[in-house]
Amino acid sequence: MTAKAATAEKRPLTHTELTDIIDLCLWAGQMLLQHGANSLRVEESVHRLGTGLGCDWLDIVVRTESLTITATSGDEFRTKTRRVVRLGINMGRITALNDLSRRVSEGQLDRFQARAALEQIDRQPGTYNRWLVVGMVGLACAAFSRLFGGDWPVFGVTFVAAAVAMLVRQELIRQQVNPFLMVAASAFVAGLIASSAAWLHLSQQPQVAMSASVLLLAPGVPLINAAHDLIRGYMSNGVTRGVTGLLISLAIAVGLLLAILLTGAGI
């Protein structure tokens, strides 16, 4: 099958071809879902990918923890479900997958080239060095402390607290610790270091350091996706994502509380 044929008059696909295409669609959808795409984007991208590769139609059920696709071509159809585990946000992969589904729907790639492209995306390591990420996250939270009206000592304390918390987070993710526990532990470490602004008498505004240094854990993507899903009609996904965001916020609060109780920082 040439790339051109995919967009021209559609011939019925064989059973083998349909199986291959539905696997590609599940793979792409799974990656989109686990790296933080909203439900509408997952459904649209997968649909474009499948029809671009020669299917007549796809029915796609997107849930936050699984993906089910029925692909139809002529009289043949196939249905498959894939379990999806939540992983970290990765905008690089979402961008690459978005690009892939666009190229396929324009008929630039056939299913073999699409598979090669997916393999490449799946193997793609993070764009940024681990230590660069740690430094940038520290700087970002320190920048937050400026936005919250903090002084320069608070800036420094926040930088260190957030950077160390990011290191802890990376390590706990690697150890596959439960996500909520991971957030609570990272918030605890951030709070512990940030409270040094109070007990070392570095600044009058330790509360700024405490609140800015845990922002790296803030569930921004789940909450924004929740709103998007709710408004776009993916009600149950919206609720699920909203509750996830709420639980992450709660985990941050628990970590901070432990830090406050331990240091007795009257913050």
Partner: protein, 158 residues
């Protein structure tokens, strides 16, 4: 609000957005757009509040501006909107409000003891903080999906 303060605001918000973009593994070529969205958004909100708008309203206006900016950037770079949208509103996240709410709840529960306010006052203060945090979050989410909500009405592919 004078120009120098506004410029500082824009700068630090852009740094915050950039840091989060790196954490989210945004491709290098899209980083400048993320910093721009973050800086513009927060500076616009500061401007709005300087003009006397309440925090929530200024946030909604600024987040909507970020939404439209993201739409434009996404078209230009042929990339998903969420890349710029999320980085753009990150600096407006109500961190201090959320933190104070949490402290208020712990204080009500008797876990920590910070202020000498009466329990009734504390309850009201905490409720107000919680409501404000929630409203700002809703304003952020509504703002960045506003363009999508208003102008994307073509037949869905599915």
């Amino acid at each position: 609000m004078n120009g120098w303060l506004l410029a500082q605001d824009l700068f630090w918000a852009a740094v915050a957005a950039l840091g989060f973009a790196v954490m989210f593994n945004v491709p290098r070529r899209l980083l400048p757009g993320c910093a721009l969205a973050g800086g513009m958004g927060h500076a616009l909100r500061a401007l709005g509040m300087g003009l006397g708008l309440p925090l929530e309203v200024a946030t909604l206006a600024a987040a909507t501006a970020v939404g439209f900016l993201s739409e434009w950037l996404a078209k230009r770079h042929e990339s998903p909107r969420i890349v710029f949208g999320v980085s753009g509103v990150i600096p407006m996240v109500p961190g201090v409000l959320a933190y104070q709410t949490v402290l208020g709840v712990f204080e009500l529960a008797g876990l920590i003891n910070l202020s000498s306010d009466t329990a009734a006052n504390e309850l009201v203060n905490t409720a107000v903080l919680g409501i404000k945090t929630g409203l700002v979050l809703i304003a952020l989410a509504l703002g960045i999906i506003a363009p999508n909500l208003l102008f994307r009405r073509q037949q869905p592919v599915v």
